[in-house]
Amino acid sequence: MQPKPVLLKILDGLAVILLGVATYFALVKAPTEQVMGQVQRVFYFHIGTAWTALLGFLFAAVLSLVFLFTRNLKWDRFQVAAIEVSLVFFFITIVLGSIWARPAWNTWWTWDPRLTTAAITELIYIAYFMLRQGIDDPDRRARFGAVYALIGGISAPITFFAIRLYRTIHPVVIAGGNPEAQGGFSMTPSMLNAMFVALIAFTVIFIDLYWNRIRLGNLEDKVEQLKLKVML
């Protein structure tokens, strides 16, 4: 077993501290929104996880390209790690959005363009892991996974721009307003602070989990090689 690098240990600690700081800013420092009340506070974690997850999916698409050019399995492990952590974060985004929607829209779920594209993105990447599970040959699995992740990566910008391209009731909080949005709100400076703290915190948490997941991928690879060695 390889010992954990010191830098990763520091990053682990920093991630926990930043998660605490982001929670403090979201629950204590940010003011209560007058129309929606306390539930608006889930917005900070909602946007933090969404930002990192969508960037993670795009990053995985770039890693797929690198793998397809180099055919080095190292890039495949990097890609799997990015997609897995993004999938978890995006699940949190969707659940938080649904919880916010219940009092704001009076429903847990509606087939709004943003919600639909988000659900499709999540399902695309769940299917990615199902696809990989079905292929035994590591090279074939990596090749199929890379092509799939490259095409699947298109869903990330579509989800991001859905609220700017289509008629939707989802609020556009950053860079532009949506007159048809329901539950939109204007951000005060302390709300903006809480949002940026959450963005920084979730970016660091993402990097930390990503690094840990790469190490796990290396172990999986080692087990696969040892199994082959023992069998032959």
Binding site: V39, V88, V223, L226
Partner: protein
């Protein structure tokens, strides 16, 4: 001012949201810990299985050191 609607109490939703977010993150970290532990156990087991095969792969056993042989004969005599 008096006609303004009071802020609704939606704290239950907020608590549920944060509880789920923390729970999902904790479960994911725990799953990574479990997978790492299982993989390390697999590696240890596979390396153990690989060990007995190692002497068979080598061409010849090591010759006995001469010094040790002398000591044995002396004691025997």
């Amino acid at each position: 001012m008096f006609l303004q609607e009071p802020t609704p109490d939606t704290s239950g939703y907020m608590i549920a949201g944060y509880a789920i977010a923390f729970l999902v993150m904790a479960l994911y970290v725990f799953s990574m810990y479990l997978r790492t532990r299982n993989l390390n156990q697999d590696i240890a087991m596979l390396e153990e299985m690989d060990k007995p095969a190692a002497p068979a792969e080598t061409t010849q056993p090591k010759p006995r050191p001469k010094k040790a042989a002398k000591v044995v004969t002396k004691r025997a005599g």
